[in-house]
Symmetry: C2
């Protein structure tokens, strides 16, 4: 039960005891990866599936001119590449943002797991949530101004980290530099700094020592028009993010 993966998957639908124990077996042996290390590089292929157990990582793409876009954050409980072995080459890289604990799961084991319908459905779910998140990010970057854009990210991370019990109240560890946030949001590092000051002055957040405190979640949600429906959490159990968006 204290497995970050099952904890997450059960937010979609309950798993049988047997499924849960199969998923428990999978999370060993682990290895530790230092910060700022690539787990997978664009163009590579792989016969293993990586699962993040601890730390923050990201998917990113680079442009020849050196500009970088982070296209997803990977937090504990997230797979790097669940189905990627169907393709011959990765179309993006994955790198750690902080020190991470990772498991490498042989493709074969994943395929065994997906013989079980409950697990197969749960894996589909994570795939579809990833896709939904990409669409929401596109909306975020394409249509929101810089300040609500950053605020939206903070709301999303709160919800996602709560799912795996990594948020305490309305605050969580956010081991990112402002430059990394800039690469995520498509704005300059300097502007990220200014935006965060604005959010601070509005009394929406506090941010010190890589730790984010959301001081007024309701207003942060309203300010960023956050609606967490794209995370497709089970509807029986309304989460804070959904009850606040009329």
């Amino acid at each position: 039960m204290d497995n970050v993966l099952t904890r997450k998957l059960e937010k979609f639908a309950p798993l049988s005891a047997e499924d849960r124990s199969l998923l428990d077996d999978i999370i060993r042996p682990t290895r530790t990866v230092p910060a700022d290390t690539d787990l997978i590089r664009e163009g590579q292929s792989s016969n293993e599936v990586r699962l993040i157990l601890k730390g923050f990582a990201c998917r990113y793409k680079m442009l020849p001119n050196g500009r970088r876009q982070i296209v997803a954050y990977l937090i504990p409980g997230d797979f790097c590449d669940l189905n990627a072995f169907i393709l011959e080459a990765f179309d993006h890289s994955i790198g750690t943002l902080s020190e991470c604990t990772v498991v490498d799961i042989p493709r074969q084991r994943i395929m065994e797991l997906t013989d079980r319908p409950g697990i197969a459905r749960a894996f589909w779910w994570v795939t579809l949530v990833d896709e939904g998140t990409l669409r929401e990010w596109l909306l975020n970057i394409g249509q929101r101004g810089a300040a609500p854009r950053v605020a939206h990210l903070f709301c999303e991370l709160l919800v996602r980290l709560r799912i795996v019990d990594l948020a305490h109240e309305d605050s969580y560890e956010l081991p990112l530099t402002q430059a990394e946030i800039a690469d995520t949001m498509g704005i300059s590092p300097v502007h990220v700094n200014r935006v965060m000051q604005t959010l601070r002055e509005m009394d929406l957040i506090e941010y010190r020592r890589k730790s984010l405190v959301i001081k007024d979640l309701d207003r942060l949600i309203a300010f960023s028009d956050f609606n967490g429906a794209y995370l497709h959490l089970q509807s029986g159990k309304p989460e804070r993010q959904s009850i606040k968006t009329p």
Copy 2:
């Protein structure tokens, strides 16, 4: 053989004759949908899978303030919602951009098809390509200036339309208004207009009567840093888009 769906799926891996004929049976009965009509609205659920046979449609998300972001184009051969029935509610809407011909396929038929491994793999492939495309769009909107951004879109559409034989040489029908392109690219309609004039003045494209002619594909590719690897076409058959990116 003259089925827009199999034509596309075989660009990933060849299908058996039997698979191909199963996929032929699926594309009837069709219906015609006028332009600017929603096929699916955010929040809805559905037990059918829609397949576009003719025309352009798009996935989009709206903000409460009325701003819209188009997050994907759907062209002939594209599924609207292959796996979406796993979720209870759509997290985005799908609307036609031009008059479209569509088939509605009951969820049950899709599940029968995926019993066949070749088809199942092909369906996985389209899902992963969709996801890869979303990541590339995020890079495009987040990191490129307006002109290369639009140019990148034109390159992508050329490759995708060629896959289904809907491009003639380096040109194709593009039934979009500049306002729709603006909603896709996260820039204003006025600026789209100016960017297109720039591309025209650079002798990269011609655009009249909803018809786009790429006058110098190599330069357009270079200008937009286009690299079609994210479309994951079969590697045995190098397409134009890949040989031009060193």
